[in-house]
Symmetry: C2
Subunit: 431 residues, 2 copies
Amino acid sequence: MTPTICPKQVVIVGGGFGGLNAAKKLANKSNISVTLIDRRNYHLFQPLLYQVATAGLSPADIATPIRGIFSNAPNIRVVLANVHGIDLTTQKLRANGSEISYDYLILACGAKHSYFGHPEWEDFSPGLKTLEQATEIRRRILLAYERAEKEDNDQIKSELLTFVIVGAGPTGVELAGAIGEIARFTLEQDFRNVHPSQSRIILIEAGERVLPSFSPKISERATRDLANIGVEVRTHSRVTNITPAGVWLSSEFIPTRTAIWAAGVQPSSLNQFLGAALDPAGRVIVTRDLSLPDHPNVYVIGDQAHFEKKDGPALPGLAPVAIQEGRHAAQNILRQSTGQKTKRFHYFNKGQMATIGRRRAVVQAGPIQFDGFLAWATWLIVHIYYLIGFRNRLMVMLQWAWSYITFQKGARLIMSDDWHSYPHGGAKPNS
Amino acid sequence: MTPTICPKQVVIVGGGFGGLNAAKKLANKSNISVTLIDRRNYHLFQPLLYQVATAGLSPADIATPIRGIFSNAPNIRVVLANVHGIDLTTQKLRANGSEISYDYLILACGAKHSYFGHPEWEDFSPGLKTLEQATEIRRRILLAYERAEKEDNDQIKSELLTFVIVGAGPTGVELAGAIGEIARFTLEQDFRNVHPSQSRIILIEAGERVLPSFSPKISERATRDLANIGVEVRTHSRVTNITPAGVWLSSEFIPTRTAIWAAGVQPSSLNQFLGAALDPAGRVIVTRDLSLPDHPNVYVIGDQAHFEKKDGPALPGLAPVAIQEGRHAAQNILRQSTGQKTKRFHYFNKGQMATIGRRRAVVQAGPIQFDGFLAWATWLIVHIYYLIGFRNRLMVMLQWAWSYITFQKGARLIMSDDWHSYPHGGAKPNS
């Protein structure tokens, strides 16, 4: 029998890909007690968030209650709270008025949207990081069609049927493709006064090509696939202003009632408490074992951290990076708790992929690059595989099969008690 | 060839059971042009709303886009709008600032909750008529458990784990049963500091028995089934006040943080424009063919109408009543449009049913009454059968099967950006 010693307190902040995988690694380990804190009661599968925004899936399909994931791990305590302060000296967090002590800390708080110093753009161009934002974008897209159906003025109708997506990374490309698909197929039969050809989907990118983290060849293919489903790609275009009436690109104005922001992100504001060097994007520059400089018991991972590869730029804000970092940080804590030295983190790049419309995708895994239907099938299998929980996998598979066969989207609901307050909407009725 | 004559304009207000079935009856009829107006873009299957409120189903599972239902009926135009005025003399409606003329009108606007002259109770005791209300109730129930898990004060913990449902009609009974099930099974493994026996579910009824529209024998069985799953039934108890701290029954006070209103309803405020006699509940008293007295081209159906049976009270506000009335009104319009006389409405009572917890129900169809597992299976089949759309049927069946086998509820999400504003919640964090 091992002597009973006081278990080490590991606190994990954030139940995204990083924090969740760290907690899984620590589940049921002896002499480790974990507190997993999140401001939501669910883990969100962010890579499929664009499908909620485009009415293909329901919120519950891509969200799994965190408590349910760890119901069989008695050493993991799940706490619904907002962390709003960290004291590295006393090793305490402040969370909703109470204090939580830690021996080891993993910060995995992720990132939210950044409007490059223009927070006033958010109202007219919501980002896509949360379920609430996804249902809000869904509401705006469906309402734009509802209003266009009733509109006699051609100019206003054209503005209602113009959708601008800012930022051509994977999220922007996937959103644009899904809206293109809705415009061409899903809503064709539903609306009598809207012809598919009247919809314009414009994808704006400040850089020189779409999917800048992929190879130029993949970017070219993606641009061609997007053009095939009616998405106009505008590279070398920097957004200079967003108003309720539309989007400005320097001196050019694109009138639109629906703009969506998929451009910059900024890490959690908790980074300000760490006294560590931040990169220009605000991410904490971590050491080679993922810990905070001078604080070997504090780890920062995922979108919140800047980990420099030996031979290049920082690792990108992708789910596989967060997953591997989460597991590695947890393993380092296990080593430390038994007196061993920590190990350096090495990212194993499994590649990246993005889907484009209803049966195209691009995949890049090291030297292997492919696109088209095979890439789409790969994308599908990988996403189903990584989706947490048997129920969610089954539901998502069935809904995709149904959508694929029928060209329909099942979750075309405009929810919210005040849809009349649609920012650019009609008169508010008095009843 | 028939000579081309101007089609008759039929306007239907409301896409619930009544309006939807009226429109279906008029779909693809020659010389009939239908405008179906609703303030939502979806038909809501209200009998299953309590399952959204108790995390068993997602909103999209019980809502079907109205446009999709009529995409193959070119004579039906679907309009998303709020009707805020009716002029019976000029035969015009006002809807979101524009005017719509009709030759025939069907009003099927349903009912909303009524707090018997105490609208201030609504904040502390939401009703269950819309998807937004259902997700709000779900949020409150799940948050109460989250807060109880963290609470050290036994008194507050007990208040958090007390759930009061006001009104023991089918909705109240089904809600109480589902919350009882959550308390006993679903959340048992998720929460470490909450024991199932700590939850109290109290069902309050002003009348002398639960399910007053059923036979006394059924009421007795339902009371026994409710007791078996831990629901305390309080009959002869009238609510006199509801505050953030709890519910008053005359001089008795029940401390609770979660009260839900399933008691009174009131019909659409449009009834005030009709100049017709209303019953004490505010419903329009219609003629024997369902039309408005002195306005044979205006029909009022469903929860908005009071139709007196020959031998008893008015028909209750149930889906089968609205469905049959919708079909009948449409058929009368078809007769009128070809110069025939209208027919009297006769309600064919197929019976009623209510489910209690995870495998009990009560069914009453004329002289036939039964309960238990067989009733539950009947309830299941009937609800799946009436659910609109192949996709929804399949999704609901699968989620029920999953819940039944695993004792889990799939949609345990606390959504809303401001969960901190939970009315009786903790301190609002400053980050």
